[in-house]
Amino acid sequence: MIRIQNRPILNFVSLLILNIFLLSIQIRKPSGQILLKSWTLMVLSPILSATSYVFAQSFHLWDDYVNLIGTHKQNLRLQQENSSLRMELQRLEELDRLHSRLQDYQKFQAQFQYSTRVARVIAKSAPFWRHSWFLNIGSDDGVRLNDAVITPVGVVGRIVNVTAGTAEVELLTNNNAGAGVQVGENRVQGIAQGNGSDNLIIKYISNQEQVQPGDLVTTSGTDRIYPPGLRVGRVTSTRNSSQIFKDISVKPAADLAVLQEALVLAGYRYASPKP
């Protein structure tokens, strides 16, 4: 047993500690907390932090490096799930784009007094052979031969073949396809004709007429297929030929290469007047 009476230094240190203890239970910090509590927390917090860190690291070590049973399976499952979700995301994005486009079509549709049908392009022929599409609507939906097919941007073509559930569209750019048109402010009448390329040519406009590049080309309605006033495209070049008619080239307003939906003017019946 330590004989305290014979150890003045021990007594001295003990009394100093006693003084500090007495101070710590009387003095409060500005927060109102007594110093003893504050000091105790100050001493304990590194120990608690260290303990917590060691435990956390141990669990981390165990979970991430030791206990990896089933991780491979889980990884595969997550990869599959990730792939599915990516595909689902793409599908939803596509639906969103489709929805936006359909809204545009519906607005455009409301401008016409005659009946229109929104159709989705289900197939496109190789443009080398023929400029035509197949639509997902047919005679059951009221589609008939020679119905005009348009988009909010411009004229596309006409129905040349129809079944109960599908319809074939001959694009205006197809060789020998045509439409009655009017050009520019003067509304000069002519016939737009496809030649198998991406552009149209306009026939039967006299060299005397004033047609400039950039002039707007719209349907005239004289062909009894397309209603008058629909946008066809813009003049890209014009020159007087050696004959009496101009050589005029037109770029179609609708980008036919990328379109995926179209409107069928099912109610427009000038093309087949009743006898």
Partner: protein, 160 residues
């Protein structure tokens, strides 16, 4: 008994309303004198008791002067074990240094514990050191005489 005597003397001196006496730290003189004449243990406990009582009387957190007086008592007692501190002027300087050290320890404690220091703490500490060490010249002489007289009284029964 000595501590009680110190308290009584301190209160008596304060009641005289002499400005000089207000600066005399009698509890410091008690701690130093105990260190000069008594063992380390007695000086340490004596300093602790004197400091704690001074804190109570001055409405300070108990431990401020208790800490410093404990340290002073032990330090002086330790020094007096190796150096003879009987000379009057040597004691004067010992008290002067002890008073400054006492102010430094208590002020340091208050500062460390985020407590406000008394107004004009440094000037007051210097004046107190001067007054206390001057008072020590007289008080230590009186205490020596009292102590020697008492020692003689205690020695008489064994004279023959």
């Amino acid at each position: 008994m000595a501590v009680i005597g110190t308290i009584t003397l301190a209160e008596a001196l304060f009641s005289l309303h002499l400005r000089f006496l207000l600066y005399v730290d009698l509890f410091l003189l008690y701690s130093v004198y105990t260190g000069l004449i008594a063992s380390q243990l007695s000086a340490t406990y004596g300093g602790f008791a004197a400091g704690a009582i001074q804190d109570v009387l001055n409405n300070l957190p108990i431990g401020i002067n208790g800490f410093s007086k404990t340290a002073l008592g032990f330090t002086v007692a330790t020094i007096s074990r190796f150096v003879v501190l009987e000379t009057t002027w040597l004691r004067f300087f010992i008290v002067l240094a002890a008073s400054l050290l006492n102010s430094a320890i208590s002020g340091g404690l208050l500062y460390t514990l985020d407590q406000a220091l008394p107004v004009h703490f440094f000037q007051t500490s210097l004046i107190q050191a001067a007054c206390t060490s001057t008072a020590a010249l007289v008080i230590f002489q009186m205490a020596d005489r009292f102590r020697r007289g008492r020692e003689k009284q205690l020695a008489r029964p064994y004279a023959h």
